[in-house]
């Protein structure tokens, strides 16, 4: 009998991780934190191959907890674990974490201020053809409205690793919004991460693009092309959506003619909403264009096709910016 061979383009769960360096960073960083003495407990709900935590399990099986397909149970149990001094990292699809477990996150984790880390992976429309049930285009808005919860969206694997390390001693809960781990790298392993401090990639008198998570890389590419055309364009990597770096936003508002937020999220309530609140409160008279997924359910399709459709790739962001600048 010969073994079956899956087509190389298929989503074979064990091999997907090899194509997802961003998710390898999750497992590897958590493993290293255990080695360094942090009481990390990695929790999964039957998605250890999708989020790569099987690698953590191989290294620290005693600190790996499998909950099966019971996400709400997992989040509440993580809260219980945290009360005993453990540091649980709970990972599941962002759609299930932020929507299905919203109440457990609010009431059991955030309200008591417990140091649970919530890893919402495959966020936005990265699960493409899986459809709306698996899309998370509301998670930033929902998580942002929960008092006491920090909301972080790293742009790539190195920044995720840096963020996990930088927040290892953070006393309260953190929601990490990550993609499918295939984001092209913006940073190298030397990247510094400070919770709540955005990273400026140049400044622009014409335009500042405020990006978060998966949109940082294409925003930088779009900005480079615009600069080639003699526009003055800066990019602000707003990796922490909450607490928002208000001074960086206001600086951009003061120095740029136009601001554009770009996010793989509903245009309501996420990064764009957060930036709009700061600008309105401050009275800064700058135009803000919120770019993202319109307030509707995304189409199904392969992720890269969806990014092109919603103008969230470099070409799309560039086109969106040119219309603003014209």
């Amino acid at each position: 009998m010969t073994a079956t061979v899956m087509h190389e383009g298929s989503w074979h769960l064990h091999s997907v991780l090899d194509q997802s360096p961003g998710l390898r960073a999750l497992s590897d960083t958590l493993s290293e934190l255990v080695d360094e003495g942090y009481p990390v407990v990695a929790c999964t709900a039957d998605l250890k191959y999708s989020n790569g935590l099987f690698r953590f399990q191989e290294r620290h099986s005693e600190r790996f907890l499998q909950f099966g397909i019971s996400e709400q149970n997992m989040v509440s149990a993580a809260a219980g674990l945290a009360t005993t001094g453990e540091r649980p990292y709970v990972a599941t699809f962002a759609s299930f974490l932020a929507l299905l477990c919203c109440e457990q996150i609010r009431t059991d984790v955030a309200y008591p201020g417990l140091p649970v880390r919530l890893i919402g992976h495959h966020s936005g429309i990265t699960l493409g053809f899986y459809g709306t049930s698996h899309h998370a285009t509301e998670d930033l808005a929902i998580m942002r409205a929960i008092a006491g919860l920090a909301v972080v969206a790293p742009a790539d694997g190195p920044q995720l690793a840096a963020a996990l390390r930088a927040t290892a001693d953070h006393p309260g809960p953190v929601y990490f919004r990550i993609g499918r781990g295939r984001d092209p790298e913006v940073y190298d392993s030397a990247v510094d991460f400070v919770l709540g401090r955005a990273i400026a990639h140049g400044s622009g008198s014409d335009l500042t693009i405020l990006a978060t998570g998966s949109t940082v890389h294409p925003a930088l590419a779009a900005a480079a092309r615009l600069r080639d055309d003699c526009y003055s364009v800066g990019v602000l990597d707003v990796h922490t959506v909450k607490p928002l770096d208000t001074s960086a936003v206001l600086e951009a508002a003061a120095s740029s003619r136009i601001l554009m937020s770009v996010e793989e999220h509903n245009v309501l309530g996420g990064l764009g909403g957060a930036v709009a609140e700061v600008i309105a409160d401050s009275g800064a008279g700058v135009r803000l264009h919120r770019h993202g997924i319109p307030d509707e359910y995304a189409l199904i399709g392969p992720p890269t096709h969806l990014y092109a459709h919603y103008r969230l790739d470099a070409d799309g962001i560039e086109a969106e910016a040119r219309e603003l600048l014209a």
């Binding site: 099966g68 019971s70 509440s76 457990q104």
Partner: protein, 279 residues
């Protein structure tokens, strides 16, 4: 451990104290869950004065046994016991539910020393208790985790997620107690959504099961002590405690509607007389 008459008398006295104080607290708040509090008075008194390892005045002692109140709307029955344990001052209790007071209708771990986990939204407590039990095991601590669930609470799906995973993880330091008082807000639990066969459900989920009269402190104490002392037991355990909603006040036992209410002064006297008259 052998049960002595003095221990049983103490537990009965504390159950009576819990009921009296519940009446007094609800008098302050002008509304409260009398009947739900009364059905679990013996369960709470047995846990806090016969089973749980606690240190007076040290609500954060790391090796203490944990208690999670799934049916948190009966918190008025527990607060007086926490004061009695020296976890917070009685003058806090005397201001129950008044503006800015930490004590609300549901127990809040962020505000109330001695509350090991907040509750209010039904169905979360068993999961949180499982997390504590697993945390204790990871740390090599031998504390036990007790979770008191309402029978209506068992309608929540998360309870059964927790039941399944607790058995899978062999959380033997986790003990659930179901206050089977048979009533939820809209009527008899089994008319609202049937939950029987209850013991069979837990057993089929892989739990060690016991069934007791939840007002018989001898039976409660013996059963809970047997379960915590049983070194051979590998699985989490549940005690289904058959109780009477409103137990101890005759008109609450027979009249529906005392799930949430407020007694007029004459009825309050009748209620207190009956509570004090019980042995």
């Amino acid at each position: 451990m052998t049960t002595t008459a003095a221990e049983l008398d103490l537990i009965r006295a504390k159950a009576r104290f819990s009921r009296e104080e519940t009446v007094r607290l609800i008098q302050i708040a002008k509304v409260g869950h009398y009947a739900s509090s009364f059905s679990c008075a013996e369960i709470l008194a047995t846990l806090y004065y016969g089973v749980m390892r606690l240190k007076r005045g040290e609500p954060d002692w790391p090796d203490r046994d944990r208690f999670l109140f799934g049916k948190g709307h009966a918190a008025a029955a527990l607060y007086p016991l926490l004061v009695d344990w020296g976890f917070f001052e009685k003058d806090v209790l005397d201001e129950y539910t008044r503006l800015g007071n930490p004590l609300g209708d549901h127990p809040d771990m962020s505000r109330v020393p001695g509350i090991d986990f907040s509750s209010g939204s039904l169905g979360h407590a068993l999961s949180a208790g499982l997390g504590m039990a697993l945390g204790g095991r990871l740390q090599g601590r031998d504390f036990r985790v007790f979770v008191l669930l309402g029978d209506g609470e068992l309608h929540e799906g998360q309870v059964w997620e927790a039941a399944m995973s607790s058995a899978h993880h062999r959380a033997r330091n986790l003990i659930a107690i179901v206050d089977r008082n048979e009533y939820s807000l809209d009527g008899r639990v089994d008319d609202v959504i049937g939950i029987e066969p209850l013991v069979g459900k837990w057993r089929s989920f892989g739990w060690e099961t016991r069934e007791v009269d939840g007002h018989d402190v001898t039976e409660l104490l013996d059963t809970l002590r047997d379960l915590v002392d049983d070194e051979m037991r590998q699985q989490p355990a549940v005690v289904v405690a058959r109780t009477v909603k409103g137990k101890g006040v005759s008109f609450m036992e027979t009249e529906l509607g005392w799930h949430l209410g407020y007694l007029v002064p004459e009825d309050e006297e009748r209620a207190l007389d009956e509570i004090r008259a019980r042995a």
